[in-house]
Symmetry: C2
Subunit: 404 residues, 2 copies
């Protein structure tokens, strides 16, 4: 009887699954042809409409997972891949951090070779793409370094954050990320210097020219150089801080989501999620930049930026719901101290740059003006004129107005 | 054990249901704020974005139902309303058609009073709204009459299509529909004569003026009078035929869908579907008109029009899948004859109007020109000139060119 029940359940599930897949395909067909266009138009606007629709589907999937019980949600992954929904094996991380291991005579550098796995090109390539997204050397470096600090801070929660010191700083920050950012910046300067004159494929006479035109279809239609200028105004400073925060949160979600949904790190869904994020993140970043740089023309923040924010928030909520225990493991005391110090420094700088500095500047200007007036008055007095009192009163009025 | 199994199943279903509802709400939030705007802007563009999103959700729901087995699909309705998913009771229709019943002495007109149920105001109100949608007296009347013909033709498939002759023609076509169309046309002429000058609520001085402005927020921002002109070109003729066809198909779907999904006619979902169709149908009709009337400015058919077409098609496919037996009950012979006759008449008219008439008109013009030339030649000849042969040859060339 149980077997029959199971079979009939399987039978119903097959049709439910088929129905959901068909609905998603119909939604994608509708969206790819009819959705609102974003800022990018190469290789074709439909390509970006497709990713917009995928992000809607992904967000709805996340919402669905969020509203399941923890047990059901993990088992639900079985419908996507029957190998999922199984607890991950415990792994041993950290270990031997000696660069030159005297004990091992055949290959004393074996610790280094061990770390050179598939994640090295992944890090490099990832940061190359992230640089194309963010288009700013400083912001990339800050995010890259900040993430290593986060790994240090959270290695008591997720054991695969614990790495050797030289793995953190030399291999990750300098070699992989640094090289990726360098190559990204080189590509960016090529893209910003390139001439953007588009002509139809049929107007190009030579065969070689046609081929080149087809390849260039996959480069942007025109180029906007991002100049974030975080120190220029409070609005921009808060926006840049917000972007860095969301970026880091999305990076952490990658690891925590794998952990709470029992996804092995090498599963294709993890890779798909990253491909997805590269595509939608680029659009979102451009939309944020447009909104920040020219709020008169771009009156609303773009749709993709909203969706990326919603997806990051929903992923975080799933992590909170599925494993509140791991997430609330308290930080070691010295790490808390470091973070409090860092936050105080940032807040102090913000207060100084956008509030106190303005006041001191204004005060200095007032003093300068006062001195000028004094100088003039002295000159007047030495000329033995009666107008000096009136002049003094006028300048006093001016000062009062300025203070108001 | 079975009870436990059932309970755990119920438990899982509750969370699945909750997840789906949450996903739909998130989708609506995204769509209402971010979807592409349509042609209407009153009372607020968000209102029309909402209906656009509802139509996407409805279309996806229909696709899901389409991909279930017949058994599962009918039972699926139980999740929406536990009273659904039960076969409908057989009903007796038609019956006594005497207007004046001699047998019943207390109330000889009781047959008429029996028919005066809630469907009379529903018909009237429905046609009032349809007239606002279509905005053309002739098209409304044709659809209204055609639908009665369809009821006659299909009463062997759906018994609730069978009505008395006076119910068909006097109560439906003349009283309910006719009055609805008349009131609709009156409203349309008021809307087309109204002045469309909008000023902000805060610029209106009087309290009464403010109230009036708030009420007028629910009238259109500006008015487009539809002039379908079906006979003016083949494109417009085919478009009008297509609109009438889809309209009638959507009306038939109302009845067939109720029948195959076991929905009682008075269920609130049936009413909701009609409210939905009134909203999206109005937008779709305007988009079709814009596309037809000014294809240079409106290069693509609007999104809502595509969706309404997709929804009508999917509803029809559901009917075909769920009850192919009823749908293929062959028409009685005399009805087949009538339809063949009607189709032949329409095709003949189309051929005459857009192909043959043009040829005859061209032929007549050629003959007229020939005669003119002949007249000129005669005149030339009477003048005794030698140029006439050349003139004749020239006109012959012209005629040949025109024939090509």
């Amino acid at each position: 009887f149980i077997r029959m029940m199971k079979q009939s359940k399987q039978f119903v599930l097959f049709f439910t699954f088929r129905g959901i897949v068909a609905s998603i395909l119909v939604f994608l067909c509708f969206g790819v042809t009819q959705a609102k266009d974003g800022p990018f138009s190469r290789p074709h606007p439909a390509y970006w409409r497709f990713w917009l629709c995928v992000s809607v589907v992904y967000e709805l999937f996340l919402i669905f997972i969020l509203f399941q019980t923890v047990q059901d949600g993990r088992q639900f992954m079985k419908y996507i891949d029957p190998h999922l929904g199984v607890p991950l094996p415990e792994r041993d991380y950290g270990g031997n951090c000696l660069i030159y291991d005297h004990g091992n005579e055949t290959d004393p550098f074996h610790n280094i070779w061990d770390k050179l796995d598939g994640f090295v090109p992944a890090h490099f390539f990832g940061w190359y793409l992230k640089t194309l997204m963010i288009r700013d050397w400083w912001m990339c470096m800050i995010i890259s370094v900040m993430f290593e600090f986060l790994e240090y801070s959270l290695e008591h929660q997720l054991p695969n954050f614990s790495e050797c010191w030289w793995d953190h700083w030399i291999m990750d920050v300098i070699l992989c990320n640094g090289l990726g950012i360098y190559c990204g910046m080189k590509t960016l300067s090529w893209l910003s210097l390139k001439t953007y004159k588009w002509q139809g494929l049929w107007n190009i006479p030579t065969y070689k020219g046609k081929m080149k035109r087809i390849v260039f279809q996959f480069t942007p239609y025109s180029w906007v150089k991002f100049e974030w200028k975080p120190a220029s105004s409070l609005r921009r400073w808060l926006a840049v801080c917000g972007i860095i925060f969301v970026f880091l949160l999305a990076e952490l979600n990658t690891f925590y989501l794998k952990f709470v949904l029992w996804m092995p790190p090498e599963h294709y869904l993890v890779l798909l999620r990253l491909v997805f994020f590269v595509n939608v993140g680029g659009v979102a970043m451009r939309e944020i930049y447009d909104f920040m740089d020219d709020p008169k023309f771009h009156k609303k923040l773009g749709q993709q930026a909203w969706l990326v924010a919603a997806i990051t928030a929903t992923e975080f909520l799933i992590v909170v719901k599925y494993d509140p225990y791991t997430l609330t493991l308290s930080l070691p005391f010295y790490i808390t101290q470091c973070w409090i110090l860092g936050i105080i420094l940032v807040l102090t700088w913000t207060a100084w740059r956008f509030f106190i500095r303005d006041i001191t500047l204004r005060y200095k200007e007032i003093r300068r003006q006062k001195q000028e007036h004094k100088y003039e008055r002295d000159k007047c007095l030495s000329n033995g004129d009666g107008h000096s009192a009136i002049l003094d009163e006028q300048s006093g009025n001016k000062l009062r107005e300025r203070k108001l």
